[in-house]
Amino acid sequence: MKQQIYRFILFFVSFIFSVNAYSQTTISGTVVDKNTKEPVIGASIHVKSASEGAITDHNGHFEFKTKQSFPLSLTIRFIGYKTQEIDLYENQPVEIGLSENVNFLDEVVVTALGISREKKSLGYATQNIKGDELNGNTSTNIVNALAGKAAGVRITNGSGDIGGSRIIIRGETSIAGNNQPLFVVDGIPVDNSQLNVGDQYRDFRNAVADLNPDDIETLNILKGPNAAALYGSRAAHGVVLITTKKGTVQKGLGINVTAGVSFANIVNLAKYQNEFGQGTEGEFSFVDGKGGGVNDGYDESWGPRLDGRLIPQFDSPIVDGVRQATPWVAHPNNVKDFFETGVTQDYGISIANAGDKYSYRLGTHYQDQTGTAPNTQIKKTNVSYSGDYELTKRIKVGANVNYIVTDAPNIPGTSNGSASSLRANNIMLQFLWFGRQVDTQSLKEGQTVNRNWNANYYDNPYWQQFYNTTEQKRNRIIGDVHFSVNLAEGLDFRFRTSTDYYNDKRKSKFRTGSSGAGRPDGSYSEDAYIVSEDNTEAILNYTRKFSDDWSLDALIGYNVRNNRYENNFQNASKLAAPDLYTVSNSKDPLVSTNLLRRSRVYSDYASAQIGFRSWAFLNLTGRNDISSTLPSANRSYFYPSATASVILSDALDIKNNVLSFLKLRGGWSEVGSDADPYQLATVYNLGSPFNGNPIQTSSTTKNNADLKPERTQSTEFGAEAGFLNNRIVLDLALYNTNSIDQIIGLQTSPASGYSSQLVNAGKINNKGIEVQLRTTPVKTKDFSWGLDLNYAANRSKVVELDKEGLLTRYVIGTAGPQIVAAVGERYGAIFGTAWKRNANGDILVGDNGRPLRDPSNKTLGYFTPDWTGGITNTFTYKNLSLSALIDAGIGGSIYSSSASTGVMAGVYEQSLSGRSAEFGGLTWTDANGKVRDDGVIFQGVNENTGQPNNVIISAETYHGQSAHEKYVYDASYVKLRDISLTYTFKKSVIQKWGIGGLSVSAVAHNVAILYRDKNLDADPETALNTGNVQGVTGLARPSARSFGLNVNLKF
């Protein structure tokens, strides 16, 4: 036995020695920047077609052993530099000079499933945005930071402040479903929902705003199915691939410290009139704000002239029980004064390093943002870790963890929702129905006692902001564990299991005494969500260069995805004991609902890239999904893609001083998409029992047991060209996307029995063009000017809604006018009431002098712009760099429900015309025989006589006449979006201070709107929420302009 062990050990030792003895050669050298001769830290050096290699240390030095014999070729890669190959013929230390990557075709980009590919080999458009371009932006939502930077990417938001934003790539491809792209961080799909805005009337942030821009290395936008086919179901709307920073070899300690502060102020406030105060028919006197006085229940400004006359007001002193009359004067800035300067503070520290066998980065970031609305705030803490370890030469393991805590003591109100009783959560409501004489300071003083200018409908706005709050706490973990095994030369096995899990809890309070909100008892609700997505994937990857001509990069993979969504809502609608916020403190039976949704998808996929002489590439992909949400017969579905690229300049060898390179690309792809869970059977919902009798009602949506997967097919062509030594680089893309068999809850006449019926129908087409131009008009030793342009135009067309052609319009939503998808029209038509007109287009007026509305609704515009574009100018002089982004969206329309109200309520400046002789009012005698000077004649033609209307009506009546048509505006805008000025200290200077790097930057976001429709009372980019009902603004909080200062310090 002993002998056997001895023999074994001997055998083992000799084996090891024999391996070691096998002709090992040590290769060493340094990698430097060709121009500056500074060492390049963290560059990777690999022996071609083998797994041996190393990473340069902080001196740019590398050293490793190889079994290969000379001559051998090395590949040297480093981000931002051209990948270089050198051949070694003998064993001598080498110095390798890398040149900066000017030719962006040589860029290595991350593509679907995290696969790195040379950009030139791709058959579709892709756009990279570097982390630095997002960093130092004062917007706290990563989605907002993308505005204007990428062709074909459209961002809208509730406001520029705390809140949710919507991102759309290449137009809406789904008639009814989510149209936002999938976000993937380091291979982990992450959720970007904006849960339950509607019911709470609060502007919760979209979930991807959890990410910390400081952690981002690059952000790559895969613009459509062609680029994203491998992601399957969710690729139809594009994918935003985010690669976070990883540990790299460091010269110093690898510590990076950032600090920033920014200040936000409101802009784009509506124009108010300051001539007339609260009331109606020119009369007002305050007693209780509920109609007890003269028109004091009125929340409109058709009251007396603001001329200093004495009138009892809500803030007038009460002497011996009598409210004294006080001067009736305007407070022109009363809305503006309510808002504050929002302050955002950012602090981050990270440590990163790498060695022969390991790399890691550990970072933490804290952000504290207070909103422009009083007492609104979001605090966010991120802790992120990423690490990789080389277990053996062949096996690598690693993990990423990102833990995010969002803690918002109070979320601002939003523009739109379904529960009208919570509408007043949006502070803008009472500023729209307002008394223009109200003094904001008096409101502030009345906070604790809920003293308000109107007690019928509103609580004191400060009471509302400080006591009627919705807090949000979200704990989220995004992470994975992964390993890879190099099975043989060129053959790798990769495995990853990942999760994105969060719980999100909102607590909404109404303080006892909130009678304005219709909650005199106060109320309390808790709304809790648990959302998760787990993915487990295994991939076998094979890379081989068969000859000088042919190369292959192929993979097969398997993925299981589990999604889970849980909601639990509890509402104590009337508090029993005042100001005690627990769900059991309820006068009424507790209202409680819960919801669970689960789904699972199994996927098999494969892809191959075949390269020919490094100038022609064919990319093929195929994926088969099996989804739990579809009926078993249709559950499994396959979809392929094929794209190709040819570097013509290499193929035909036509490089010259004018044309640096030319690439053509094109392809076709299809992606399939499943349904939401539980859409196969129509269900009956249970309501709380009535006198002990359970209540059951049928869902008003008729589900469909025969659902098929949706399909989106896309054809794309493009060209990339570089001119004048790549001083001008052009990227052009043309695409045509058809989405068919869409799963739509087609709205049907309620008389059909259901208000909607789920069908596979609907076809929507999107065609578009995208242009990206990168130029460097000036480049000298000290000074350079970079000018980047992007342009995109997308045209959508709703081709069909149902197979029978019976339905002509799908109502996406109603917000004043309907937002519809109408057959034969662009997606997102604003469909609403219009004036009745004669053949000449004159508005018809009734005998009573009021305009008539056409009984049929009309298409009044489309929310989608004709084109969007952006121009970034970057000037660099020595260590100083200045960058400015101007972007535009031209065309498209927006309906303002606020304007409709603001004019009708006599609050907006527009409502001044005709209000007295001074403002052009005509003298007339009303029905009561009173002679007045506020007469107006509506310009139009009498319906019966055909003669011009000559009936005088009061200005109040005149401005109250409305049709949606009247408040539809041009949504075009040109904005100076971002300016940043950065100074990077010279290394030679700061090294004396013991610092590895120091930069200071001043940034501004949403600087100015250079062009917009002057009559529109809001930022044209505002939206009600992140859903598909766009092109409507209402009660939008004024957008925010922010200025900030950031410091970045490296040790």
Binding site: G291, L491, V591, I626, S628, S632, P694, Q696, S698, T957
Partner: protein, 475 residues
Amino acid sequence: MKKYITLFIVTAVLTTACSESLDDINKNPNATEIPDPAYLLTGVEKNGADLYWGNSADYGGTLLFVQHWAAIQYPDADKYDITNTAGIVTTPWNTGYTTLITNLNGILALNDDIANANYKAVALTLRSWVFLLLTDLYGDIPYSEVGKSVVPKYDTQKDVYVGLLADLTQATTQLAAANGAVKGDVIYGGDVAKWKKFANSLKLRIALRIADKEDALAKQTIAALNVPDLIGSNAETVKVVYSTSPYNNPQQDHFVSRNDYRISKTIVDKLKALSDPRLPVYAQLPKDTESASDYAGGANGLYAADAMSQGLDKISLPGTYFLTPTAPAVIYSYAEALFNLSEAAARGYISGSAETYYKQAITASFNQFGITDATVIADYLAQPTVAYNAANYKQSIGEQKWIAFFGQGLDAFAEWRRLDYPQLVAGPASVLEGKIPTRVFYPGTEQSLNGKSYKAAVANQGPDLLTTKLWFDAY
């Protein structure tokens, strides 16, 4: 190499091996696919009462048209200044079809072993009631193709009424104690005999609705009814009695958070003129102490400013009888059954004295509101202003029925249009050139969702306006 492929496959299999079937995952854990007829019935009765007694259809619309209530704030509907997206237009249609009729059809579609013949007869009765509300309000409506087509055709109003009479005949035939128990019935507690009375009484209501147009059919229908088969006492009144929060009476619920309505001056003045003891039941004294000595109604159809300037506290709220959380939603009262008999007698459809039924009807209404003192009732009936006028039964019945219907806006609106009494006057700020609506628009969504059928209906019935007269409204 081979073993790595094996490893790969094993991994792939491992990740799925523990799985439950995809069908299980997609089984909805939040709601059931199998309905219970009792639960559906409770839902329909409760939601139907909410519609009939609630904001959009009742006090935000028809109750203003018939001048039972008046708007003291936000008088748009009171001025008839409404569009085809207003609540009075969309809510009855949407709720009527999707919440009520679909669930009733759900009961009708169940297997007989789950929902017995009585459930189905009850469902058919309630469905007839809902269809009746809809056709009374809109005119031609989808009826025969409801639930059968995505774009159902509109049946003419006449066809709807005739169809409903047949449906109710079927219901009455089916209703029998032997056919099984009905649970979840919050109207009659499953009393099949009472349901039969409701179904018969609905036939009576419908027959009179068409009497001016289809005299023979009306007569034939009513002649076939026996008085004992109709609602025969206040105990048999069709009503849903509301309960604790959140199931409070919708009319009182309004005043918890809002304050937009008052009792109308029209009905207050009428009750005063008749020294009607129902006035203190229908109205509260104004809050303002100075005017609190007398009831005061709000005028209908004023400009917002004028409406408001009447003074929130100077005008009477509807009575506490109506504004208590547990106040009943009356759907078909005993008084109405008697008024209907009175008219049937006046028209010569049945034997018996129209005047006697008329007096019984008023007495039943008094009793319904808790006035039982025989002397008080007799004194009231003895007034010449109350006495039955055989020369113009439409006036006598019309006015008294209108008073008895207080709160039941939809039926008061239908009967006011048919009987043309009381003679109401549109408010000064109303926008229909002095007219009062005689129907409501079809919901705007019908134009886009069911355009062809909509156009055909408009072609048949007349323009889609508030003032278009419906088929039944002959005079």
